[in-house]
């Protein structure tokens, strides 16, 4: 079982390194999908990262704005599976 903080740090680092192309700093509340940081392509990579790192497979229809628009929401989603 991953501690939420460890999970949060890992996800933030991954998104920051992979998808943020300017100098902005990602926070747990930064909008990911609605701001355009994450799109369909990034969602596939993020989904694979979650599976690899935390052993959780999130079904595609669950990867929505409502469920993963921030790192906090994403962690809630991961913990549902």
């Amino acid at each position: 079982m991953h501690l939420p903080k460890l999970m949060k740090d890992k996800i933030i680092k991954y998104i920051q390194d992979e998808f943020i192309t300017d100098d902005s700093i990602l926070t747990p509340e930064t909008k990911l999908i609605s701001s355009g940081i994450i799109d369909s392509f990034s969602l596939v990579s993020l989904q694979s990262f979650i599976e690899r790192e935390f052993g959780k497979r999130i079904p595609n229809p669950k990867m929505t704005v409502e469920n993963c628009d921030t790192v906090v929401k994403l962690i809630d989603l991961i913990n549902q599976f």
Binding site: T21, D22, I33, G36, D39, S40, F41, L43, V44, Q47, S48, P59, N60, P61, K62, M63, T64
Partner: protein, 380 residues
């Protein structure tokens, strides 16, 4: 269909009755099914029969794969059945010239008469809804199954002909016996949205169509400049037309207290093609994303596959879903290439000038031009 008087003649008494009868024993859902079948019976008897058959087929299949584990073969057979149904009714016409030319060499195919092939109303929408239903059962998203609820979902006349392609997972909780009582906000919000949709369709879209249709229908008679202007007009017309339909569908559903997903979100004000597709025909683009693009993209880690073939194939399918015309396929491929090119740009170019008004406005303009050029394939 949902702009015809018949639609409203069915909608109004259904709305009144819906709120008069008690919310128990699924009576309200049965009323919606009856109204939907009356609607289908009036417009297209074949669609009514096919809806019933497909609903029984998909529900039984879903029940079967939902009650057992590791039924991949059964799942694919069920999906195959739905796809065969779609191909038979919708795309056989596309293959007729190929059959005919083959027949000139070897007479193995029967002679097809296009007029004998039915195109049942709403077939494209119902097949997508049923595929997502079965897949969501397989993925463990849908756990509770109920035939009356599924029949209501499959046939619901407000979203039957022009979407949005609502997901069962979101629709079912709204169908559960909620003990709902009528609220004025349902009438208020629903009525406003319907009026807004009718305005978009009958005033804006039809007014633009009045000017551009003569040019689009006789393109050889007009200059390049006029044809370009007509293409620009078409870009606006199709938006007002289709988003108008969606407004009517969403508003009509709201009369019954349902919240149907939004289908458009100012798509022509987006800064790139990726954002455009999150705002244009959202229910379809999300469907394509969840059930075609993401599974395809995960097939291989090869970058060319991921950044080029997966989006191009997905958008090609999205294009051909619109109808049996090669132009639709080319339109989809055009957008697939656009999405692919944008990803490559995004990966390699740092956003140095992000948030500058000039760059943002230019991005909106370039995206609009790209989308407008794409409509050329769509209409030819």
């Amino acid at each position: 269909m949902i702009t015809s008087p018949v639609f409203f003649i069915i909608l109004i008494p259904t709305f009144i009755l819906y709120w008069l009868i008690p919310d128990k024993y699924k009576i309200r859902q049965i009323l919606l099914v009856i109204s939907s079948f009356v609607f289908l019976y009036i417009f297209d008897l074949s669609a009514m029969i096919i809806t019933l058959i497909l609903t029984i087929y998909t529900y039984s299949g879903g029940y079967f794969i939902g009650s057992r584990k590791n039924l991949n073969l059964a799942y694919w057979l069920l999906i195959g059945g739905l796809l065969i149904c779609l191909i038979f009714f919708k795309y056989i016409g596309l293959l007729v010239p190929a059959f005919d030319s083959l027949n000139t060499f070897v007479k193995i195919f029967p002679k097809f008469e296009l007029k004998n092939i039915l195109l049942p109303l709403g077939i494209s929408y119902i097949v997508l809804k049923h595929i997502s239903y079965l897949t969501d059962i397989k993925w463990g998203i849908i756990k509770k199954q109920d035939f009356i609820f599924f029949l209501t979902y499959s046939s619901f006349f407000t979203i039957f002909t022009a979407g949005p392609i609502e997901r069962y997972e979101k629709f079912q909780p709204q169908l559960e016996n909620r003990g709902d009582k009528f609220e004025w906000k349902y009438l208020d919000e629903g009525f406003q949205r319907i009026i807004f949709g009718l305005f978009k369709k009958f005033v804006l879209a039809n007014w633009i169509a009045f000017f551009i249709n003569p040019v689009l229908q006789n393109q050889n008679d007009y200059t390049f400049e006029l044809k370009s202007l007509a293409l620009l007009g078409f870009s606006l017309q199709i938006y007002f037309d289709f988003s108008g339909y969606s407004d009517i569908a969403i508003g009509s559903s709201r009369l019954f207290g349902f919240k149907i997903m939004e289908n458009f979100n100012f798509p022509y004000l987006k800064q790139n093609i990726s954002q455009f597709w999150r705002s244009w025909h959202i229910s379809l683009s999300e469907w394509i994303r969840d059930y075609i693009f993401m599974p395809l993209a995960r097939l291989s880690t090869n970058k060319i596959w991921f950044y080029f073939f997966a989006p191009v194939i997905s958008m090609g399918i999205c294009g051909i879903w619109h109808g049996a015309k090669w132009g639709f396929l080319l339109w989809g491929i055009w957008h697939g290439i656009g999405l692919s090119a944008y990803q490559i740009y995004r990966k390699n170019v740092k956003k140095k000038y992000a948030n500058s008004i000039f760059v943002n406005s230019l991005s909106v303009l370039l995206t609009f031009i790209f989308v407008t050029l794409g409509w050329y394939f769509f209409i030819n």
